[in-house]
Amino acid sequence: MKALRIFLLNCKISLLNEMAHKINFLMRFLSDSIYFVIYYIFYTVIFTLVPNINGWVIYDILLLMGTFHIIISLFAAVFIPNLAQIPMLVKSGGLDGFIVKPINSRFLLSARFIDIGSLINIILGVAIVINSIIRLGLDISTATFLLYIGYILIGVFIMYNILFILICTIFWLHDSSWSIGFFMTFNSFADKPISIYKGMIYRFLIYLFPIALVANIPASVMLKNFDSNLQIWFVIAALLLFYFSNIIWRKGITLYEGASI
């Protein structure tokens, strides 16, 4: 309860900060949407040349992309601004101030600030998903909708844990400022239909770093082409990643030497 109160208070502070720079707020929305726009153009052009890709028509793919846009916007709003600061805090010794606070230090480090600018980007993703649902004539029940939302949150949680593990390499490598850029490009695997991956790449993207599941599983619920085994694995993978990231964090923190790194 205390954690939730602190989180909401942080949201309020972040909103006040963003409102102080309104033009920047708008520019952020536009620049964050460009990646989506580029791939929208890409698929629009591709589908003028072929009728479908592995059985997927354009609105199936747009629904998947819209879902990923919602996930990445949520992730960028809640976790990136916070995780990005960890390498600097470890190097400067600023982590001391977090470890001694009477609240879970991992939670405090992970959800201190909220980037409202990225949160606004969700609107674009939601609009694309709704448009795709209408175009595909999908009938969405309340249960499907709730499951979709739940899986989106699990997708965000999986992304958070993968990035957290990468960031934690700072305790061993003494630098992990590369990890965010690395992780964001790694996400190029996430907004493509899972069926295009085969063999070793498939196993890597599903079982080792399940990034290919984060948008595909929620989208598959809407598209009603889901694989129940993969859905179960999706939930287990989220829990396992959280468990392992916690172990890595605890091991890492024992190597932390204050301001002396």
């Binding site: 520019m27 952020r28 536009l30 620049s31 460009i34 990646y35 726009v37 580029i38 791939y39 153009i41 890409f42 052009v45 591709i46 003028t48 040349l49 072929v50 009728p51 479908n52 890709i53 592995n54 590369w178 850029g181 690395f182 490009t185 790694f186 190029s188 695997f189 493509k192 295009i196 991956y197 085969k198 790449i201």
Partner: protein, 275 residues
Amino acid sequence: MSKLLKTAEIGLQQSIVYKNNFLLGFVSGAFGLVVQLVFWPVLFSSGTEFGYASIESTTIAGYYLNEMITYSVLVYFIQRGTSMMNIGSIIQGDITSGGLNIHLIRPIKYLWTKWIMSISGQLINFGLSIFVFLCISILLKANFAFPEAAVNVFLVVLFVFFAYILSFLINCIIGLLAFWLLEVNSLNTFVGMGVAILSGAIFPLDFITTNFGVLLKYLPFSYLAFIPTQVYLGKFSFTDVIHNIAICFSWIGLLIIVTKKLWENGIRRYSAFGG
């Protein structure tokens, strides 16, 4: 001459200092390439559904699968070898922070310094790009299109050099806009993403079958990725090559004039904050 050589030496040293950044950029950029290498065969395999006998005989917008794979790999390496996106940010930083002051009193022109430092700094990147490109082409040789004549290789190197000059000039122009706009980082992002589409880095410009696609081939951006790959794939006749060299020279000339004008007008407005 010695001033230019010294500048080139500094650029080379800087690229060695930041070699880890380059390697990480190379690896993380490769994820995008892997996605494309996975994506194109799937797309071409759909060809059998619209009348082609096999994946190998399928053509999409005039490209066979091996040509499409080669296109993606080549574009990736040309981009890694010629990418100068940070030049815009560096120039903007110098203008807005007042860091330009120190350059103005040096006995060498500012933009010349930037050009020499970037080209020497890219030497290692470029060499490494060629090496990795050769390794990948050998690895993918069953699905890779090799140039039909040695002259194509020479022409690709020439067009890549043109791409380098154009990339530098486009980024300089964006950086110099900081004399008027002060904050050009968002513009940099917009232009970077726009250039990715307009240069043919995301898909070949032939995929756009309307007149707009034809127009795109004449813009300077197409020389950053699309045109060099067409030369490599042997899709250009001798006349096409000469024609494109002439267009490319015209764009380089025009952009040099724009850059000079922006510099001359901008420097009159420059207030030399801080520094």
